[in-house]
């Protein structure tokens, strides 16, 4: 493969890094020769059309003009020339894949906080919109997000002013290595040289713990703490499958134990049907993977095997060298960044989605969508579109741990901020004069688990709300009214009391408290009828 590199700065050190990635035939136009190379019909790249043309421009030196009066402006004309010349080259050379880095201007400048046309950040957005448009119009132009590298590593690690002033070398070795790595990934994506099948272990990979030892309810998979890491991991894998990646399971378990979780565990994002093939048995994983390849009729070189167990990985690496076996992260908290950086980018890069990919993509809508809806739609409409489903439980022993945790962790939407241990909650549940309510929330995007709790004490002539709280995750969706409504319906008393105990953080609860008709610091009794009227007017 022949690759040509054009730049307006000294980018020649990239050569050494690209050769380490296997690029042998590389051409570098002289410093700042990029425009002449593109438009001169006798130039090297016009005479020896490369397979890949990589264009990396330094925006600051290309577009920044210092006027004679000392003022700075960013040059629109230069930008237009640059866009036209690339576009012309792309049309004249349809077999050359052109990869353009998007432009990154300095984060800080003398314009400080001004957001006008002289501010580099504003001009940067303008340039990059044009580059994106260019890539949308031309099938052989691909925009590569150099700004992602700059965001991830930062100017301090990537730029070195000394070598810039000595020899127009702007970047450090770290930067050159990252650029080379992403060129490699991008080219693989363009050529479709990406993996097709993800083979996944189960215990300590898709969830925390071992189902055979910890049991169905003992595995770590939840919306909190370590369990959340695995849930997010599943969400990332699910998203990958929407890009057409085939998911399979290869795990050493009793099949029934594992299927029970795949089919029935509420916190599983990946469902049994997401896995095209499941090998859940005590056989050698090498044989299982060979079998999967046979059944799918795909070469082992399109397989990626993910397993937390180093022994299993080593075995597969040795016996099936075509299979990619990424090392598993040492610290489980890094599972998701590891997956994205070490697995998805190098092995499953995508630069365009095929129609087939897109069809799959629509099937799975992400949480992000839920957030974007929240900011654009009228709130009532938004709540309706969520299709919220609530489940209210009374004295449900399975929720003891979670309810105690909610009382200990919830600071904001909390009536009394009373903290209770698991054994206290259990005692409440065992008492005839106390009821413990828990609320499960789900909507069309998924199940959030138990997000609300309330403790009601039955007195002689009235019921007192001792605790009423909800996780902030679901605040703003009027769920609190429905929850309170359910509780009221359950209580066999006509008068209700609830004492609001203000803290430095639970001010948000006051709005709800007032809308119900309660008055802070006056421990009035309200009739159930009155409360229900107040609630329904808000709901």
């Amino acid at each position: 493969m022949r690759i040509a590199v054009l730049s307006n700065i000294n980018i020649d050190p990239l050569k050494g890094f690209l050769s380490k990635f296997g690029f042998e035939d590389q051409y570098y136009a002289g410093y700042n020769q990029f425009m002449i190379e593109l438009i001169n019909p006798n130039s090297h790249i016009n005479q020896n059309t490369p397979n890949v043309l990589f264009i990396h421009l330094d925006g600051e030196s290309l577009f920044k003009i210092i006027l004679s009066n000392g003022r700075v402006k960013y040059d629109q004309a230069a930008l237009n020339d640059f866009i036209i010349s690339i576009s012309d080259f792309a049309v004249a050379n349809p077999n050359t894949n052109i990869i353009i880095s998007n432009i990154v201007l300095p984060a800080f400048s003398t314009s400080t906080y001004l957001n006008n046309q002289n501010s580099p950040i504003i001009f940067e957005q303008l340039i990059n919109r044009k580059i994106l448009k260019l890539s949308e119009k031309n099938k052989n132009i691909y925009c590569y997000r150099f700004d992602s590298i700059v965001r991830a590593f930062g100017e301090k690690l990537l730029y070195d002013e000394k070598f810039w002033y000595l020899g127009r070398i702007k970047y450090t070795n770290t930067a050159f290595f990252e650029i080379a790595k992403h060129i490699q990934n991008t080219i693989n994506a363009i050529q479709g040289k990406t993996k097709k099948v993800l083979v996944l272990d189960l215990d300590n990979t898709l969830w925390g713990g071992v189902v055979g030892e910890d049991g169905f309810s003992g595995i770590l998979l939840s919306e909190d703490g370590v369990g959340k890491i695995f849930r997010d991991f599943q969400s990332n894998i699910k998203l990958l499958s929407t890009y057409g990646i085939i998911l399979t399971v290869c795990s050493k378990n009793n099949e029934n134990d594992a299927l029970e979780i795949l089919n029935n565990h509420k916190m599983m994002i990946l469902k049994s049907k997401d896995f095209i093939i499941k090998k859940i048995n005590w056989n050698n994983k090498v044989d299982n993977i060979k079998q999967i390849a046979k059944e799918l009729d795909l070469g082992l070189d399109s397989f990626v095997f993910i397993d937390d167990n180093p022994v299993e990985r080593e075995l597969v690496k040795q016996q099936l060298p075509e299979v990619s076996v990424p090392d598993f992260p040492k610290h489980i908290d890094q599972l998701n960044t590891w997956f994205i950086n070490e697995v998805v980018y190098p092995l499953f890069p995508k630069i365009v989605l095929t129609d087939e990919d897109k069809k799959k993509g629509r099937q799975y809508e992400r949480n992000i969508l839920r957030k974007s809806l929240e900011s654009t739609l009228d709130i009532k409409k938004y709540i309706n579109t969520l299709q919220i489903r609530l489940n209210c439980f009374v004295n449900e022993k399975k929720h003891i741990e979670r309810i105690a945790q909610l009382t200990q962790k919830t600071n904001q939407f909390n009536l009394s901020t009373k903290r209770y241990s698991e054994s206290q909650i259990e005692n409440f549940m065992n008492s005839d004069s106390v009821k413990v309510f828990s609320l499960e929330y789900s909507d069309k995007y998924g199940n959030e688990g138990i997000i609300g709790a309330s403790i009601v004490i039955y007195k002689d002539s009235y019921a007192e709300i001792d605790t009423f709280l909800m996780s902030c995750r679901v605040i703003g969706r009027n769920v609190e009214f429905s929850f309170f409504n359910e509780i009221l319906k359950h209580i066999p008393y006509n008068f209700i009391k609830a004492e609001y105990l203000p803290t430095s953080r639970n001010n948000i609860f006051l709005d709800f408290y007032l809308s119900c008709g309660f008055i802070p610091s006056k421990n009035i009794l309200l009739s159930k009828e009155q409360l229900l009227t107040n609630i329904t007017s808000n709901d």
Binding site: N10, P13, G16, F163, Y165, L166, T172, N173
Partner: protein, 81 residues
């Protein structure tokens, strides 16, 4: 770090950057002895040495460090401070 240890590392870096055999590099080697040791290679050599030994050369002295011996002396001076 001893002079010979530093030399061994510099030989590796330089041969990698200039794409020459490390055998042709010794403590006596000067820039004019190796045709591949051009101004760009020189900057890349300095950049990699700075990273490898955690040293910093000033803009003024970088163009003057034109031999392996001068480089090693400067590294020793900075690292034994």
């Amino acid at each position: 770090m001893t002079e010979s240890e530093i030399l061994r590392i510099i030989k590796n870096i330089a041969s990698d950057i200039m794409n020459v055999s490390s055998d042709i590099i010794s403590i006596e080697t000067k820039q004019e002895d190796i045709i591949e040791w051009d101004s760009l290679s020189h900057l890349r050599l300095i950049m990699s040495i700075e990273e490898e030994f955690s040293v910093k050369f000033s803009m003024i002295e970088i163009p003057k460090l034109k031999s392996i011996r001068l480089l090693i002396n400067e590294i020793i001076r900075q690292t034994t401070k």
